[in-house]
């Protein structure tokens, strides 16, 4: 069973279309990165999946049921962007309150507080919490009831590097145990190693979806080869004509950078290897950020 399936979803607000013809699905045990500029429709998509609003057109199924239905909502964990809590309650009281609402086992409260590193601060009022601590409490809240679908909107806001690494490790563990995870983030390099697939929204349309390899194939962005060899100019002359390059940059006397089409990558590497005694060769695939800029740029957004 898929965690959610959106088929040809349209949603408008005050006669302004917000989402147009969105089709997207997430399988169990997968991490989906949902990307887009502010106002591209990420939050609206999440709200539709959570059942907070109904689409104007299209079919929408979540965990095999209706979005927003109590037995579906109980199996979803959600961390909103800039999560906020009741300032007068302590961390433990907050989590206990939400655990009651979700019918989650009460023993999860201390366990989750421990897991997100708030065990010591759990007796303090949320009013005194730092941004990062509130974020971690928000995460604990999302994990109540061991959800089958986890939706995290900017989960690393306010987290220090160690806490961020902890979070990603945790997400990987959850994914491996079968949880479907949606990750919205603007920190593209941060999430790149952890997502199984990406969906890029621009202007209310889904402009790209798939795993990174297939997105790279679709985009056809150049691969950058960085070669270090003594006498870079000489090397360039020798390469000329042999390498189907798109663009060449000489950085200094012994570094050259070649941008080649993905299909020409191996030919270029072979030529480089044959042309000189290389000290070093780096191959830079287009990053998630490059792909994001490419797809939003095609849609008219740009980076």
């Amino acid at each position: 069973m898929n965690c959610f399936e959106l088929e040809h979803i349209d949603y408008g607000y005050d006669r302004q279309p917000v989402l147009r013809d969105i089709s997207l699905a997430l399988g169990a045990g997968r991490i989906l990165g949902l990307f887009g500029h502010n106002g591209a429709g990420k939050t609206t998509t999440i709200k539709l999946i959570l059942g907070l609003m109904a689409p104007d057109r299209g079919r929408l199924a979540v965990l095999g049921g209706q979005p927003g239905a109590p037995d579906v909502a109980r199996r979803i964990g959600y961390l909103p962007e800039n999560v906020m809590f009741y300032p007068q309650l302590t961390g433990r009281e907050t989590l206990a309150h939400f655990a009651r609402l979700k019918d989650a086992p009460r023993r999860q409260v201390p366990e989750l507080l421990e897991q997100v590193g708030l065990a010591e601060a759990s007796g303090r009022r949320v009013r005194t919490y730092s941004k990062g601590m509130k974020q971690r409490l928000g995460l604990a809240q999302a994990l109540l009831g061991s959800p089958e679908l986890l939706m995290l909107d900017e989960p690393t806001t306010g987290l220090d590097p160690v806490a961020t690494a902890d979070l990603y490790r945790l997400l990987r563990r959850l994914r491996d145990s079968g949880t479907g995870i949606v990750l919205c983030s603007h920190v593209l390099p941060g999430v790149e190693p952890y997502i199984d697939e990406a969906a890029i929204l621009a202007g209310g349309r889904l402009v790209a979806r798939g795993n990174l390899a297939s997105l790279r194939r679709q985009a056809g962005l150049p691969v950058r080869l960085k070669a270090q060899a003594p006498g870079a100019d000489e090397l360039l002359q020798r390469l000329n004509g042999n390498v189907p390059r798109l663009d060449t940059v000489t950085r200094d006397s012994n570094t050259i950078e070649l941008d080649v089409r993905p299909g020409d990558k191996m030919t270029a590497i072979r030529s480089l290897m044959n042309s000189a005694e290389l000290d070093d060769l780096q191959i830079q695939q287009p990053t998630l950020e490059d792909l994001y800029c490419h797809f939003t740029g095609v849609a008219g957004g740009g980076c």
Binding site: K47, L50, G51, L52, M53, P70, D71, A73, R74, I76, Y78, P80, N82, V83, M84, F85, Y86, Q88, H97, F98, R100, L101, K102, D103, Q141
Partner: protein, 276 residues
């Protein structure tokens, strides 16, 4: 059902934590005892006068205080959660909007009921124990009626506060509307009604006029607490119209309950339309 109770429980523990419950109870108890012992001071005597006069004075005071306290307690119920950023999160939980509103009502309603019962109950106990020769049975009966009608009046204004709270998107606006509601029902309504009576010089259908009192929950409340002691002879001002109502106390109770149910249902319907 359990999620309704979870919401109610949080509201109740909030009002314990921020001492609202304690403060309201104390205010009620102090005022009730003050009125019981010094209410007759204007006529030159100090000490407990009689039960009907005490209850009538209490009701006059209750009309000002109870709606105000109820409105203050409840005006930010929904708009406060929205501004605090917790409404969105709550509604992703297995909790419908109706259950959330009902939970809030249960919490606020219980807070108000507990404070009223505690405050006025303690005052009643003090009167029964300390005043020599007071007839305990009629005092208890009147006090019970007074407490029940006060609670019901408070619930009505809690529901009216929700009506504002589900509709607006900023807390100060909700507070402003709540004050307006208080002003309208507690101060303006009777004046307007009196003005109409005088200005119309009997042109209105006299059978219709008493029914107009039912449009104001505070008038129903006052009628309930005063009519019970007499045939309406002590009713003054617009309330004298109440003596002409073709039904007894049960009709008044029912009317007061309607003043809780109708605004609450309307708030519910509006809340369903609120956009997140």
């Amino acid at each position: 059902m359990s999620s309704i109770w979870s919401i109610a429980r949080k509201e109740l523990s909030d009002s314990l934590r921020n001492r609202w419950l304690l403060a309201i109870s104390l205010v009620f108890a102090t005022l009730a005892m003050g009125i019981a012992w010094f209410g007759a001071a204007a006529s030159g005597s100090i000490g407990y006068g009689n039960t009907p006069a005490t209850i009538a004075s209490l009701a006059s005071l209750g009309i000002f205080l109870i709606p105000l306290i109820a409105l203050l307690l409840a005006y930010d119920a929904i708009v406060g959660e929205d501004e605090g950023g917790t409404l969105l999160l709550l509604l992703t939980y297995p909790l419908t909007r109706g259950q959330l509103l009902l939970g809030k009502f249960l919490g606020h309603g219980l807070t108000l009921a507990l404070a009223t019962a505690l405050g006025f109950g303690l005052a009643g106990l003090a009167i029964a124990l300390l005043v020599d020769g007071v007839a305990v049975a009629p005092l208890l009966e009147a006090l019970l009626r007074f407490i029940l009608s006060s609670v019901l009046l408070g619930w009505g204004f809690v529901a009216l506060a929700y009506l504002a709270s589900v509709r607006v998107s900023e807390k100060p606006v909700a507070a402003g509307i709540a004050l307006g509601v208080w002003f309208l029902f507690v101060l303006v309504f009777d004046l307007v009604l009196l003005g109409i009576l005088v200005a119309s010089k009997g042109a209105f259908n006299p059978d219709l006029l008493p029914w107009l009192l039912l449009l104001n929950p505070t008038d129903i409340y006052r009628l309930l607490n005063i009519v019970a002691f007499s045939d309406g002879g002590e009713l003054t001002g617009v309330l004298s119209l109440g003596a002409d109502l073709p039904f007894g106390p049960w009709g008044l109770w029912l009317a007061l309950a309607v003043w809780t149910v109708v605004p609450f249902t309307a708030a519910w319907a509006l809340f369903l339309k609120r956009r997140l």
